[in-house]
């Protein structure tokens, strides 16, 4: 076991992939000498050279589009998009090309492209630097979307993404880049399957499903609830496409109450999808409606008021009270 931050864990995971897979390479803006704006690729260019750690022109569609071409030639490119709000110039390439290539070629072509996107708010940043656009991508068949919440997952999930033959978007919780934790560099252990959810805390009265940056918030809320005598189960979803509904359903069958939380707006979001699936699969187990705790239907607000926008412990506890009152 080694202690490191999420940023360092991704760095180590990328290093491991570059070492083990000669066809793996990194592309993005400022990822070379600078090591990326979050230093996630720090030091990799000096170790692997500019052919495998590629500082690209400042053009997101160009990054994704050329990555697709390289994948068609047999490479496994890992693209860094600098910030969540800047993924949209690449949205066309991701949704109309990358997601469909395998399908439209009748399975003859695979495009194992990984797209890393630092996402989410809570860092006091300016416009376009705090968004959570995961639902827009989850709606597109052909993509896989994962989001680690701790260093161990981060280390293994980035490597699993590189190994996957499908395109994978890795949403990295940027406000947790400096969160430290234990990483087992020798074995993924419970992280063996990146598309499976994990029960992080067992409980009997209600379930909170969270992912990415809100996992620590959900755990803190569960601790606070325990002080009031309520036993809350916490699930780290880990994968947003596919979603591990089996784990979520099993939990709801036990607790009877479900709260889903994410920073993204609730309308049209992942929480709604989970609520719908759970109502189909575990209707008779539900003691209360599924409650979503997420962002409001507004452009991500200015930094000075983001605290009121982001789900926090109190909002989760308020939702829990409502669920328990049913």
């Amino acid at each position: 076991m080694t202690t490191m931050t999420i940023a360092k864990a991704i760095n180590e995971g990328l290093r491991a992939s570059l070492k083990s897979n000669p066809k793996a390479l990194l592309m993005g803006e400022d990822i070379g000498a600078l090591g990326g704006v979050y230093r996630v690729t720090d030091g990799l260019i000096s170790e692997f050279g500019p052919s495998r750690v590629v500082d690209t022109p400042l053009a997101e569609s160009g990054i994704i589009g050329t990555a697709i071409g390289m994948a068609l030639r047999g490479y496994s490119p890992v693209c860094e998009i600098q910030f969540d709000g800047f993924v949209f110039p690449g949205f066309n390439q991701i949704t109309t090309q990358l997601a469909k290539m395998h399908s439209r070629s009748h399975g003859r072509l695979t495009v194992p492209v990984v797209i890393r996107v630092p996402y989410g708010g809570g860092i006091g940043s300016i416009e376009h630097h705090s968004e959570s656009p995961e639902a827009l991508f989850a709606h597109t068949a052909g993509l896989r979307i994962i989001t680690p919440s701790n260093p161990h997952d981060a280390y293994w999930m980035i490597q699993q993404a590189v190994d996957c033959q499908d395109p994978v978007i890795v949403f990295e919780p940027k406000r947790r880049y400096w969160l430290k934790g234990e990483v087992d560099l020798d074995s993924p252990g419970p992280a063996a399957d990146p598309f499976k959810a994990q029960v992080l805390r067992e409980g009997t009265d209600a379930t909170i499903v969270a992912y990415g940056p809100l996992v620590p918030v959900a755990l803190a809320a569960a601790n606070a609830a325990a002080e009031d005598g309520n036993s809350v189960e916490v699930i780290d979803l880990r994968s947003i496409s596919p979603i591990d509904f089996d784990t979520v359903t099993a939990s709801v069958e036990k607790t009877g109450r479900l709260i889903v939380t994410h920073e993204a707006p609730t309308f049209g979001g992942i929480g709604g999808e989970i609520a719908a699936r759970v109502s189909e699969r575990a209707f008779l187990s539900l003691e209360a409606p599924v409650i979503r705790v997420g962002g409001f239907h507004m452009p991500y607000p200015v930094a000075k008021v983001e605290e009121d926008y982001l789900p926090d412990i109190d909002r989760l506890l308020e939702a829990l009270d409502r669920a328990l009152a049913y």
Binding site: P57, T66, G69, R73, N92, R104, G107, L109, T110, Q165
Partner: protein, 414 residues
């Protein structure tokens, strides 16, 4: 007159109109706009300092081949249009008028080169040995692709304009890395081969797509990494109903200058010039000298697609002007004047065309509708629980109908 870079205070738009008219002449090719042409409209072969040497590589056999290819693809185009009119295809994208641009460039590629077409490159497909009947699959609604790109190094058609130009550059960047990997293991000379055996990439797009941001980004990336890619723009003058003068104020080939690589306008109805220029560009790319932009100056004689009606937006007189520059007529004149081909040859080409048309028609009728299970099968390369769940539901749902049918059948039997 004040400084010319300042906006005029008396601005009323006239200057813009004048400028646009002036630029239209440039875009459309007036005097003073350089364009490589070897075979003139009368079929006479001219001289060019650079490209004549390429033209001299073409023996009569090759030239007859070009003609046969162009005639075949034109016949195929007519047949596909007819199939659409008869309801056998949902849509067809005709290429008539652009045969020289496509056959000339396609025949300049080597088997190891990889081609990214847009969606009108049926002629290039022919040169890459794509079964032409397979091309119809997409337009008949039985496939979103149709052929195996790995077999022919001819990528699937891309319908989102210009997206493939970036794929082409990325693919070319992959070729560069293959060579580095080969060099690294010390087998550079053998594995990567000499310049003649190295691969390059062709990226096709049109005058309309030239306005897409992806074309710009692809040229920036190609220039930055000196990628072995040839951008082949068929300027057929019309993006559905919008003329090329709306897309550009300068000849499209001139744009290459801004990116720092060569740009060449070639007479797109001159198969010999197109072939020569493309061979030069591919050699340039393969030998590590970087990208080239070719603008093939041609004309879409027919409609954009079978759903289009050009009479609504352009003059018949304009079409007539371009019909007079027909790429097949021009080469036929040349072949006859030089004594490279006789009536028997042209008769045979006609017969071969009829045979191809019959084959395509027969095969198109036989293109089976796929089963939606195939669509389920290829959403992802690796197992995916949601797809599996929805497929299982579909199987169960379909089985219900089968049971119903069986019940009805047994009831009827009673």
């Amino acid at each position: 007159m004040g400084a010319t870079h300042l906006p005029s205070t008396e601005f009323d738009g006239t200057e813009v109109d004048e400028q646009r008219e002036a630029s239209a002449e440039t875009v459309l090719g007036g005097p003073g706009v350089e364009m490589v042409q070897l075979l003139d409209v009368d079929g006479k072969l001219g001289e060019d300092e650079v490209y004549s040497s390429y033209a001299k590589r073409l023996d009569p056999e090759k030239l007859r081949g070009f003609y046969a290819d162009m005639a075949a693809i034109r016949r195929f185009d007519q047949e596909a249009t007819a199939l659409q009119r008869q309801g056998q295809l949902a849509l067809w994208v005709p290429l008539t008028g652009q045969e020289a641009a496509q056959i000339g460039s396609g025949r300049a590629t080597q088997p190891q080169d990889y081609i990214f077409p847009t969606y009108r490159e049926h002629g290039v497909a022919l040169t890459r040995n794509v079964d032409l009947a397979e091309l119809l699959r997409q337009f008949r609604g039985v496939s979103n692709g149709g052929w195996d790109p790995k077999e022919t190094n001819f990528h699937l058609y891309t319908l989102v304009l210009a997206a493939q130009t970036l794929h082409a550059v990325g693919y070319a960047m992959g070729i560069q890395r293959d060579q580095q990997l080969a060099d690294a293991v010390g087998s550079g000379a053998d594995a990567a081969g000499d310049a003649g055996e190295r691969a390059a990439v062709m990226a096709y797009f049109g005058d309309g797509a030239s306005s897409e941001g992806d074309v710009h980004e692809s040229m920036v990336f190609a220039a930055s990494y000196n990628a072995p890619v040839v951008f082949f723009c068929q300027n057929n003058h019309w993006a559905i109903s919008v003329p090329s003068t709306v897309q550009t104020r300068v000849p499209l080939a001139n744009r290459a200058k801004g990116y720092g690589f060569p740009g060449i306008r070639v007479d797109g109805n001159d198969v010999i010039a197109v072939h020569a220029v493309t061979e030069w560009a591919l050699e340039h790319a393969r030998s590590g000298k970087g990208p080239v932009l070719i603008e093939a100056f041609t004309y879409r004689v027919g409609a954009h697609t079978t759903a289009d009606d050009p009479t609504k937006y352009r003059e018949l007189a304009e079409e007539a002007v371009w019909r007079a520059k027909d790429p097949l007529d021009r080469l036929e004149k040349h072949l006859r004047t030089e004594g490279y081909a006789d009536d028997a040859f042209f008769e045979k080409v006609k017969d071969d065309g009829a045979e191809l048309a019959a084959y395509v028609r027969r095969t198109a009728y036989d293109l089976k509708s796929p089963d939606i299970r195939q669509s389920f099968a290829n959403v992802y390369a690796e197992a995916h629980p949601l797809v599996a769940e929805e497929l299982a539901w579909f199987e169960q749902y379909s089985a219900g109908f089968a049971e119903e049918a069986a019940d009805e059948a047994s009831e009827d039997a009673r």
